[in-house]
């Protein structure tokens, strides 16, 4: 590690395949990354890039079948989550690893009070009694900025607004003071002004609680504002990984470069015409033998169609899976 901090979660060679009626889909292909204590790792990619499936795989949350985790290691607190039994895995999820999903409407149970749902992990993982759990639940709701928290424990999810429900989800995820929080598009379903509230809350909670966070999103703006480090996924692979400023200032992968070029800006010069990435993201029916971005890449060569590039370091903490180098880029690889 360049900064010497310890990884709390290490993923190596994670590979997930879905067996569907129309054949296998290779959704996650040899994904490796680590998450260091206290950092926020942003995971960007379009739908189908494998970002959510990667996280669901390592948490054992995919239905099997059709999903099949074919290989890899996920080290967390001295154990490999992939070989941990369902029972022990369940004690990790919601306990040491908190999870926030995209849609707060569907991930809260409509027939239980919000208080019950926040207290459930406290009872289950921490063995708290009713009164203890109630106190702590009220504290958590207050922490995530819900006014009149103690009284609102008795309310049902439908009595909360969309933004408040996402706050409740965050309170549940934080209940057992997790070491790692995995947030899958937690603000995508929210309006911008509400998203701004949630992002502010997360910044604040990080200062207070210092947990490590994996934040999955397709929104480059959100990533720019919240992440320390970014991992870009395409076709079930990590194509680039860098500290946030390096990624935006000096993107190396043609996909990252193109992606940054397609989003219009809120200020500055207006582009006459938006840059596009022609074509479609791939659906991988076989393990990738070539670069998955090759069919859409502006810098494609024969080699890209023959050989799937491996990730190689280009700068401290910055690696890219690409055969091509931008002109003038000082590469660490020959």
């Amino acid at each position: 590690m360049p900064d010497g901090s310890v990884p709390v979660l290490e993923v190596e060679g994670l590979t997930t395949v879905f067996r569907t009626r129309s054949g296998a889909v290779h959704a996650v292909n040899d994904v490796s990354f680590d998450l260091r204590a206290g950092e926020l790792l942003g995971v960007v990619g379009e739908s189908g890039s494998g970002k959510s499936v990667t996280m669901m795989s390592l948490l054992g949350l995919l239905p099997r079948p059709p999903a099949e985790v074919r290989g890899g290691r996920v080290s967390f607190e001295g154990a490999d989550l992939l070989t941990l039994g369902e029972e022990r895995l369940r004690s990790v999820r919601g306990g040491r690893i908190g999870i926030v999903f995209q849609d707060p409407m569907t991930s809260l149970n409509p027939v239980f009070t919000v208080g019950f749902q926040i207290m459930e992990p406290l009872r289950r993982h921490l063995g708290m009694t009713g009164a203890q759990a109630r106190n702590r639940a009220a504290g958590l709701l207050e922490l995530v900025g819900i006014p009149d928290a103690a009284r609102r424990l008795a309310d049902f999810p439908h009595q909360f607004s969309g933004g408040q429900r996402q706050r409740v989800m965050i309170a549940i995820a934080l209940a057992c003071e997790p070491k790692v929080l995995i947030a899958d598009e937690p603000t995508t379903a929210l309006d911008v002004t509400i998203q701004a509230q949630i992002l502010e809350l997360v910044r604040d909670l990080r200062r207070k609680l210092g947990m490590a966070i994996v934040w999955i999103t397709h929104d480059l703006g959100v990533i720019a504002g919240i992440a320390d480090r970014v991992m870009v996924m395409y076709g079930g692979q990590v194509v680039e990984q860098a500290p946030v400023r390096a990624l935006f200032a000096d993107p190396r992968h043609p996909y990252t470069r193109a992606l940054l070029g397609t989003v219009p800006q809120l200020r500055g010069r207006r582009a006459g015409r938006l840059r596009t990435i022609e074509g479609q993201p791939p659906i991988l029916r076989a393990p990738p033998a070539s670069c998955p971005f090759a069919p859409r890449c502006a810098h494609v060569t024969e080699r890209c169609r023959r050989e799937n590039p491996r990730r190689r370091p280009v700068a401290p903490g910055h690696d890219v899976a690409c055969h091509w180098s931008p002109p003038g880029a000082g590469d660490g690889d020959g």
Binding site: E46, S47, S161, G162, G163, Q164, D191, V192, T193, I194, Q195, A196, Q197, L199, E200, H218, D219, L220, G221, V222, I223, A224, G225, I226, V244, R245, F248, A258, L259, L260, T262, V263, P264, Q265, L266, R267, R270, A271, R273, L274, R275, T276, I277, E278, Q280, P281
Partner: protein, 357 residues
């Protein structure tokens, strides 16, 4: 008037939905989804209509095309009053005004082939022969960048971006003058959004189209729109030429909205100061008294909670419904200075715009 008459003119448009409750289905209130909006759209321009979910922007688009019956107000298309037109003349007007829907999955009939979907308006509204229709469908598929060899395929065989192209081809089949695009890119991935937006711009140039572009994506609206209207809780809070609105938003809601949009630049993100609004948007069934935004406005004054501010021109071409701005200085050209007279307003609006030290 020095300027040409607008293609579309909307005055006091309102769309209220009654709320019924109980076994007797008694009417217990109304949802004021759109509650009196004024706007004009000039020929060939793109008016962006932005706002958060539930602000009434989609309902406004549908009411303008009379896809629902407005409660009050007037909509004129090339001088024809749309809201009071009888069914048959309305049907004859339909080819001139079309819509592109948000969800190409839900707005295309899964049992119809692409050719049948794009050709359906031609069957309804023209006397074309089958051969003429096929030729027209193929021309439309070319225009929107769909391979005409796929004319006999079904919507599910296409990707999201391609399905949106089908929806656009259908909207263009009858050579409309005016097209309402209701969140046409919201369901698409970022790399596909740019493709569809470029297509809409190309088609506008080629066919002289006029767009009402409804979106919650302020960055994309800045790219595509010539003027922008910002809606909040059934009303237009501010309407202004694009650059003026983004450089110097007048309404505190526009200021908050722009400052909330995350920008894909870590340097800007680290330095910008945000206006974080507290609370949520109130229900359109029970809007707050006075200004609709007063319950969340960081600059609210006592008058804001009592008097509903009029939507009026405060600078040439700039309309705003806010008590912070003095009455109509339109007559005076120097009025550009008048707006930021109050101390709070300009500093809040400039802070997010000036990110560098």
């Amino acid at each position: 008037m020095g300027e040409p008459a607008p293609l579309v003119e909307v005055r006091g448009l309102a769309m209220h939905f009654p709320v019924f409750r109980g076994v007797l289905r008694r009417r217990v209130g109304v949802v004021r989804a759109v509650d009196g909006i004024d706007l004009t759209i000039a020929e060939g321009e793109t008016l962006g209509l932005v706002g958060e979910s539930g602000c009434g922007k989609s309902t406004a688009g549908r009411a303008i095309l009379r896809l629902c019956e407005p409660t009050a107000g007037s909509v004129r298309l090339e001088g024809t009053e749309v809201t009071r037109l009888a069914p048959e003349p309305l049907r004859r007007l339909r080819p001139k005004m079309q819509m592109v829907f948000q969800d190409p999955q839900a707005s295309l009939n899964p049992r119809m082939t692409v050719a049948a979907i794009i050709g359906e308006p031609l069957v309804e509204h023209t006397a074309m022969t089958r051969a003429e229709r096929i030729a027209r469908v193929e021309a439309l598929m070319d225009a929107v960048g769909l391979n005409r060899a796929f004319a006999n395929r079904y919507p599910h065989e296409f990707s999201g971006g391609q399905r949106q192209r089908i929806g656009i081809a259908r909207a263009l089949a009858l050579n409309p003058r005016f097209v309402v695009c209701d969140e046409p890119i919201a369901a698409l991935d970022v790399s596909i959004q740019a493709q569809v937006v470029n297509l809409l711009e190309d088609l506008q140039d080629r066919f002289g189209l006029t767009y009402l572009f409804i979106s919650h994506d302020l960055s994309m609206v800045r790219h595509i729109a010539t003027r922008v209207a910002v809606m909040y809780l059934g009303r237009i809070a501010e309407l202004a030429p694009r650059d003026a609105l983004y450089q110097r938003p007048l309404h505190p809601y526009t200021q908050a909205l722009l400052s909330a949009v995350p920008e894909p630049d870590p340097e800007i993100e680290a330095r910008r100061s945000r206006i974080i609004l507290s609370g949520d948007v109130p229900s359109p069934a029970r809007p707050p008294p006075g200004c609709r935004f007063s319950s969340r406005c960081p600059q609210a004054m006592p008058v804001c909670r009592e008097v509903d501010p009029a939507f009026r021109e405060v600078e040439r071409g700039r309309f705003v419904a806010c008590h912070l701005y003095p009455e109509t200085p339109t007559a005076e050209p120097a009025a550009a200075r008048a707006a930021p007279a109050r101390a709070g307003a300009p500093s809040a609006s400039d802070a997010p715009a000036r990110s560098v030290t």
